[in-house]
Symmetry: C2
Subunit: 206 residues, 2 copies
Amino acid sequence: MIRLLLVHESGLLRSALASVIGAEPDIEAAACSWRDARSRARSLQPQVCVVDTDSPAADKAARKGEWGKFVASASGEGGDCGLLVLVNSERPGPLRRAHEARALGYVDKDAPPQRLVEAIRQVAKKERYVDDALGYGFLQAAKIPLTERELGVLSLAADGASIPEIARTLHLSTGTIRNYLAAITRKTGARNRVDAIRISQCEGWV
Amino acid sequence: MIRLLLVHESGLLRSALASVIGAEPDIEAAACSWRDARSRARSLQPQVCVVDTDSPAADKAARKGEWGKFVASASGEGGDCGLLVLVNSERPGPLRRAHEARALGYVDKDAPPQRLVEAIRQVAKKERYVDDALGYGFLQAAKIPLTERELGVLSLAADGASIPEIARTLHLSTGTIRNYLAAITRKTGARNRVDAIRISQCEGWV
């Protein structure tokens, strides 16, 4: 029996998905929101964690470093929980993030449920599963034109911080931040800073 | 038998939800993406359309006026398709939009599936259904502090347009746009224009 924990912000959608997956004879599916993810993971000790990476809640959890803590809670002492992510092939940012979190399985959010079931069985055996539909997404993820430092500056700017505030947060001079923002605007092909934020959000980079 | 069409961008989640709802003896559920929504609605002529309002695809469809066309296609000559929306109680913008599109049913995305089933039966009888959990969301929707004109200016700014571009698009002077942006920044309690965009996106107004 595969013990599985599914994390998704919408109660309606996670119950539906858990009930479809849990109908398989070899899968026992539980589901929760990001808020409860760590405590549920600790008590359930699932062999597979399924996370929908394509939502504001998942983005927020990632920014706060919750993903790593969640997988660590799920793995416990034994350390053997496999992470399986649902990804939107048009948002390379979360895909890159999932890869950094050492996800073992990658399934397109547009896939039929049967493909997710296959992926779950594979990840439960500690084998990698990569959905064929995600090839393009991986190419895009590899092509994000900004450095980690630039993404950090942009992410603060997108949160509404002014140049002096960004400078203070990152312990850099305002001139340096201005240079970063100019480079970001140029590299993203944007018209201005607001446009650079919009493009990066659309592409799923920040 | 209630014929139902569910519109959601993710193939995985819409299949799961349709299969859970379709397990009810009196409901026949089909599901599709926004891209296929109008043609599927025309051929199926459902009594109830269920739309997830809380996604970038739904926002985009709304901006392009697709919602009204979709409901019109579903209603056909008989004109009797009821719109039921799934809403995120923390995003008043889509809730207001659903109300403008004359939705008959409103269900919280965090509700258990059984509540959606109840709502479907109610809407199929042409009766209003409003999820108790959405009271706060409705209050918030009524409290969006910006006028339609200000939301229009903000929405162009959020798309990366400069002040002269916004002025040209709306046939107004750059001075007027500056005044609008100053009013928006003040009314949203933002630190600056980028912050006003961020706040309005977080609140789900644009």
